[in-house]
């Protein structure tokens, strides 16, 4: 497949680098934070970095087919739905426990 490596002076791998950096930051957020909302934000960052990846791939590799762009739209919606359900669950836990630190949830340990 003929792939232009540079568009407007910007090579594809710059986008990929930024996206993987954002993904790594999101990953760190999920693993390191003790606040369920911050973890949720980490997940959202992961999903959005993927969107950056998708759109860069779409523009550089296969701009004639809309698949990459359409996929990004679906990732938006999935992220929003997850955020909505996640926030609702977090609020519900907060009402019962008065904390949103997942480590304080230890009813179910051995």
């Amino acid at each position: 497949m003929p792939t232009p490596n540079v568009i407007n002076g910007i090579p594809l791998w710059w986008y990929l680098l930024v996206a993987s950096g954002l993904f790594a930051i999101g990953l760190y957020g999920v693993l390191a934070r003790k606040n369920a909302i911050a973890m949720l934000m980490g997940v959202e960052l992961m999903l959005n970095s993927v969107n950056l990846n998708l759109l860069a791939f779409w523009r550089y590799l296969n701009p004639t087919s809309a698949a990459g762009m359409a996929f990004a739209a679906f990732v938006f919606v999935v992220a929003a739905a997850e955020a909505a359900v996640g926030l609702a669950l977090i609020i519900s836990v907060y009402r019962t426990l008065h904390s949103i630190d997942p480590e304080k949830l230890d009813q179910l340990k051995l």
């Binding site: 762009m69 359409a70 919606v77 929003a80 909505a84 609702a88 609020i91």
Partner: protein, 137 residues
Amino acid sequence: MQLASSKLRWFLAMADFVPVFILVLLSTGLALLVLLISVLFGPRRRAQNATKLMPYESGMRPIGVAQRRLPVRFYLIAVLFILFDIEVVFFYPWAAAFRALGWYGFANMLIFAALLLVGYVWLWRKGALEWESVDKS
């Protein structure tokens, strides 16, 4: 020759960003200038009265503390807003290809909107949109 032309294209592409660079320089410079002016010419009397120490809220009198809790209802409405707001994403591709899709696309979007509407009616009947009432479910 090949190398020269690719370098040329690089510079041309960077040339697009020149206005941005100028804007960054100007705005940074202006901010620094304003700070400098107030340091140089501003009055140095240290006011101790309550009005001076009050946070500036565009002329409004600030009430309560900033970290007060918001009613949970607010989050519920916010979450519902996110959901319905983001669904609009699916209307953009349809708008972009509106003529090509014709009535077929229109019918499909009607189905999509009808499904959203069912969700909306459900929320409404369940009382999720009432600000003051308790849950009906």
